[in-house]
């Protein structure tokens, strides 16, 4: 997984910080009704980070404009409201002609029903293995601690 990414504060996010880790990439939005998923995402981070896992949050404003804030506001919302410790990227487009190359790659992967293509809404999740392969895609309504997610994480960490 070698893409140009920046952290929410604008500093580079070197690829080698993610290389060798299992990564759950999630597009997030602070004003979405699914924001309670931050709690489950943080619990995954706490539970599996020592085993070589991280959540990577990707703020995106393409879904009803539900991530309108500045980088500082987004970071503050996540850490103060939900106590998140996992990294966030800068705000990205995940769909459309100007989507980030990371998402052009991710969205080629089908979900459990065999449907690839556009990210459907905020909090869609892609699991990347430590060798950089996309191993699973979970749609927004699949909770972070759903058994299908935790089993997939455990499988790539085994």
């Amino acid at each position: 997984m070698d893409f140009d990414l920046a952290r929410i504060d604008g500093s580079p996010l070197p690829a080698d910080e993610l290389t060798g880790k299992a990564v759950l990439i999630v597009n997030v939005a602070s004003r979405c009704g699914l924001t309670p998923q931050y709690e489950g995402l943080e619990r995954l981070q706490q539970r599996y980070s020592d085993a070589g896992f991280t959540v990577l949050g990707v703020p995106c404003n393409q879904f009803a404009g539900q991530e309108p804030g500045t980088p500082e506001e987004i970071q503050q919302f996540c850490s103060a409201t939900y106590g998140t410790t996992f990294p966030l990227t800068e705000k990205l487009d995940v769909n459309g002609r100007h989507s980030h190359p990371l998402y052009q790659w991710l969205t080629q992967t089908p979900d459990a029903d065999g449907a690839a293509g556009e990210v459907e809404w905020n909090f869609e999740k892609f699991l990347i293995s430590p060798i950089g392969e996309i191993v699973a895609r979970f749609r927004p309504t699949v909770a972070p601690e759903d058994e299908t997610v935790t089993k997939a994480i455990q499988a790539v960490l085994a």
Partner: protein, 69 residues
């Protein structure tokens, strides 16, 4: 401000989302997230933007598509 029921929106209509984003509808998806709601999508060179709405709710119409008239 002109309001229109979501199920009356047509391709080419220009809408304003509650956050203020203006969009031209290029696609209408049904059963958004399995909820039965509609989702209006602009997929253009200008932007990709998605706005869901219950079919019986009103949305702000900025300009109706006139291509069929």
């Amino acid at each position: 401000m002109t309001m229109i029921r979501a199920d009356r929106v047509k391709l080419g209509d220009r809408l304003r989302s509650r956050d203020g984003t203006e969009m031209t509808v290029t696609r209408i998806d049904e059963n958004f997230l399995g909820s039965g709601m509609l989702a209006f999508v602009e997929d253009s060179d200008r932007q990709w933007f998605k706005m869901p709405a219950a079919a019986d709710r009103e949305v702000e119409l900025l300009e109706a598509d006139s291509s069929e008239s």
